[in-house]
């Protein structure tokens, strides 16, 4: 969490001195890093206090108003979790129209939300989830075990989300109780997979089963249901039926268009609900896709948007300087920006298959550890944070940001050191028998990203001169993920790995997910590392919290030693709003305890936002 001018205040109203005095900004960065390091034990007390101060400061909530939310993109292709590659902008509508089985509290722990309780057997191979009674979807159907089972099956059976749920075994449903058996042994963090991820959000079974591409309609799918397949597939994936604070009203895809949802009078946390709360406060939410960051910020400043989000650090810094809007920032449990290196070679330690049978990656200098270490030593992360991070982003030294399990103040990752860089480069060139290395450096064609990565290349040129020839190759966003999946790259700018539990990183790092180049693999860099595998399995199967933390730290150190990725910064997200918008990120859980506020790459709740006098204008 980024501290603001007023200690403990999450909402930053005045920080003009950050932008105007670069040296002071650099000092602030150091202070922030120091403050962040203080949260190393995972308690994150400072952040917790800060969140506490924002709640209830703004008076008694008033009902009414339509909140217009400026989104960075329109990233959903339909709103069913099993078919959606949900980015941050997709989670805003998702959070409006539905809730998840589990929530995350302010300590980063998974706690029941739609679930009443959750339990497991002694060896964590069977989980029993008991659901709250009396919750209804927007179509009037009840949230029962049968509906939850169907929801989970769609995600397990989906080609898009199935890999993450490959350890889900047989599911049984009875009344309000769902039992999930695991495959491949214990799974100690299973509820985290049904927390804040898309598949944790519950949707009406009637709606899901009416969609044309639901896995149960596909004859080759393990969940194929002939009777269901014979029913009309007339559901509209763009018209979700959830159980959230707002009911879907309309959606028009594309930039400038919006997703609109209106108050759900029968919300389970509302006056007619089961918790005795009075949510939501707003009459409606209209989420408008506004892709261009300047347009989005201008629309906020001119009053067209009531609230907006962005991960563009420069804009966040500008908005923090702007007295006319209020800005909340956070990098809590967020993603890490990094440069992914293709290290595909040799044999997969888990599957025994050749990772690069055609030798497509044989000439990539990133196969050499000394080359990787040289490049890592050659990046001045402080300068990068200052010049491209608006003075507010924090240099990263691993995949786990401060406050997350596995974070280490010193992960062993090569720090900026020109002499060490040159020494490593000399060894690299000597090993390869050449006087220079060349590689393609892919980035998305977003101008900001291209400029950022061009700065990194210029740092290498300053450090190594002609010994490093990196060619920046921008790629259209639509193709980008596909190229990573197939492993057709040398060096690739990337952002990933947010979350509360390191178990959620298993599918990105385990050797089993490292398929040969040309085949789809979620371990995009295609490393196969015994130490990482062993520790990932410990994290998945060992219930001992200390052992899991140690395993995560071991992974962090291993990344530091082997430099499979070049870490650059921890992603910071900003939510800016008009002064009349209150409790922008407040998340009080049904039992009155504090839920996590802005976290997981820009995610926050919408059901507790309210506007002065019940009017958002």
């Amino acid at each position: 969490m980024i501290p603001s001018k007023r200690p403990g205040d999450l909402v930053d109203r005045q920080r003009p001195w950050v932008r105007r005095r670069p040296w002071l900004g650099a000092f602030l960065v150091l202070m922030l890093a120091a403050a962040a390091c203080g949260g190393n034990n995972g308690d994150d007390d400072d952040a917790g206090d800060a969140n506490q101060d924002t709640s209830g400061d703004e008076g008694e909530p008033v009902q009414g108003g339509t909140l217009v939310y400026g989104l960075e993109a329109d990233t959903a292709n339909g709103w069913a979790p099993y078919r959606t590659s949900c980015a941050t902008s997709c989670y805003i509508p998702f959070t409006a129209v539905s809730d998840s089985l589990f929530a995350v509290n302010d300590d980063g722990e998974i706690v029941p939300l739609l679930a009443e309780s959750v339990d497991h057997n002694d060896d964590y191979t069977e989980w029993t989830i008991t659901l709250k009674d009396g919750i209804k979807f927007h179509d009037g159907t009840p949230l029962d075990a049968d509906a939850v089972k169907f929801n989970i099956e769609t995600c397990v059976g989906s080609p898009l989300t199935g890999a993450a749920y490959a350890s889900v075994g047989p599911i049984t449903a009875s009344g309000q109780t769902v039992t999930i058996a695991t495959k491949n042994g214990p799974w100690v963090a299973l509820p985290a997979y049904f927390g804040y991820g898309a598949c944790g959000y519950m949707f009406s079974k009637d709606w899901l089963s009416s969609l044309p591409d639901v896995p149960h309609r596909s004859p080759n799918n393990p969940f194929y249901d002939a009777a269901l397949a014979a029913t009309p597939a007339d559901g509209d994936p763009a018209a979700p039926i959830g159980l959230g604070a707002f009911k879907f009203e309309s959606y028009e895809p594309g930039n400038g268009n919006s997703f609109r949802a209106v108050r759900n009078e029968d919300y389970w946390r509302g006056p007619n609900g089961i918790t005795g709360e009075n949510l939501p406060y707003l009459d409606a939410i209209e989420a408008v896709a506004s892709v261009d960051i300047d347009s989005r910020a201008n629309a906020l400043r001119s009053g067209e948007f009531d609230i907006m989000h962005t991960a563009n650090a420069e804009t966040i810094a500008e908005l923090m300087d702007d007295d006319s809007v209020e800005t909340v920032t956070s990098d809590r449990y967020g993603e890490t920006n990094y440069i992914m290196l293709n290290t595909a070679q040799g044999t997969n330690l888990m599957t025994g298959a050749q990772i690069d049978p055609q030798g497509a990656n044989a000439d990539n200098p990133m196969l050499n550890l000394h080359c990787r270490r040289a490049l890592a030593h050659g990046i001045d992360l402080d300068r990068l944070a200052e010049e491209r991070g608006g003075g507010i982003s924090t240099p990263a030294n691993g995949p786990f940001p401060p406050g997350s399990r596995g974070y280490l103040e010193d992960s062993g990752y090569p720090a900026y050191d020109i002499d060490a860089a040159q020494a490593e480069m000399d060894t690299c060139l000597s090993d390869l028998g050449t006087d220079s290395i060349s590689f393609d450096f892919n980035t998305t064609n977003d101008p900001f990203n291209v400029e950022t990565n061009t700065l990194i290349v210029s740092m290498w040129q300053e450090a190594f001169g002609d010994e490093v020839n990196a060619t920046i190759t921008p790629i259209e966003q639509g193709q980008y993920i596909g190229i990573a999946l197939l492993g057709n790259f040398d060096v690739f700018a990337w952002r990933n790995h947010g979350g509360t539990d390191p178990d959620q990183q298993l599918l990105w790092w385990i050797s089993a997910a490292s398929a040969p180049i040309g085949s789809q693999a979620l371990n995009f860099g295609r490393f196969s590392d015994e130490v990482i595998d062993e520790n990932l399995i410990t994290i998945r199967t060992n219930p001992d919290e200390d052992a899991r933390t140690e395993a995560a730290e071991n992974i962090n150190k291993r990344f530091g030693e082997e430099v499979y990725n070049l870490w650059t910064s921890w992603t910071i997200w900003g939510i800016s709003s008009q002064p009349y918008v209150n409790d922008q990120v407040l998340n009080t859980l049904p039992d009155g305890s504090k839920g996590i506020e802005l976290a997981f790459a820009g995610r926050h709740q919408l059901n507790q936002i309210w506007c002065d006098n019940g009017e958002c204008e």
């Binding site: 930039n255 400038g256 300047d294 629309a299």
Partner: protein
Amino acid sequence: MPRVRALWDAVRRKPGLTTTAGALVVLVGGWLVGLPMLLSFLGAFALVVVGASVVNGRYVRRRLFILVPTIVLVTAFTFYLENSRGDTRDLAFQILGPGGTEEGVDQIVQEFHLDEPMHTRYLLWLSDAVRGDLGRSAIQGQPVSEVIANAAPVSLQLMIYAQVLALAVAVPMGVYAAYKANRRGDRIASTFALAALSIPNFVLAVVLILFFALGGIRTGDTSIGSTWLPAARYVPFGQDPVEHFRHMALPAIALALGQAAGYMRILRSDMIGTLQENFITTAKAKGVSDRRILWAHALRPSSFTLLTVFGVNTATLVGGALIIETLFTLPGLGTQLGTAIFQKDFLVVQGIVLVIAVGFVLVNFLVDLLYAVLDPRVRHVRA
């Protein structure tokens, strides 16, 4: 029957006036009864074609004969560009996105006929397109015709407002500059026009946003600028007409100013030539007032180049508005086209390019017809 006869006689006597008036009635009437905008436009267009046919049927038929192969050529070329890159299975994989399976790729290949030769695919697409089926967007999940139907009115409105504004500024300025040719008034007008032409519309848009939406520049206690107009978003006319025009004002001005400057310079130049003609000298000798000479005698014959450029610009504005629409978060065709290109949503790209191409050809066809409607000399020479 006598009334119909009288109407027909009126059309024959004043074809330009009556059909233009009829087209306007269709547009306004269509809006009042809630007719889809595209349908109203088609109705108005048909009326103008009828008017032109009355004037010179042979000429209209000749233009129509060229129209069809032009549209086929443009769409074929676009289809080729969109479909000629890479392996068709790669294309299918891109359509599916992350998580795409071999089974899914097979399905896409079959659905989009990607295993057929290029010309077969084009003919299949064209035969569907003429029946109004432009396929389904792989990314947005909507029929392409629906995507276009939702976006086209926004772009059409922006285009119309920009053109009306441009003409409203350009015509008086052009006439005035020609009247005061090479004198101070002309030089001032021409300097402004040159400045407006030199500024790209997206730069102008940013400046307009700064000064009319964000409060402008502040120095101490003094600020130059205002927050009169919104910086983004689209409000449909039917929802709130006042807000609609407030939201369209800045993008329309950003688009119109450059156009106005160009139109003004063209009109000025043509009008200076016209004012040297003998019939103008005769009018002056007869004591006709300067105002009447300028507006009633010189303007009409001076407006042919302007009309041609207006026609060309009208359709290109849709594509040219891409940045403006993005800057102002307007969900028009330009925005949709840009997004579809980046997302490789090729059916949407093809559909929008088809609409722009057909629109371009039709508007220029209309301009050709208007030559004949506007000027008896052209009518008789071409006949």
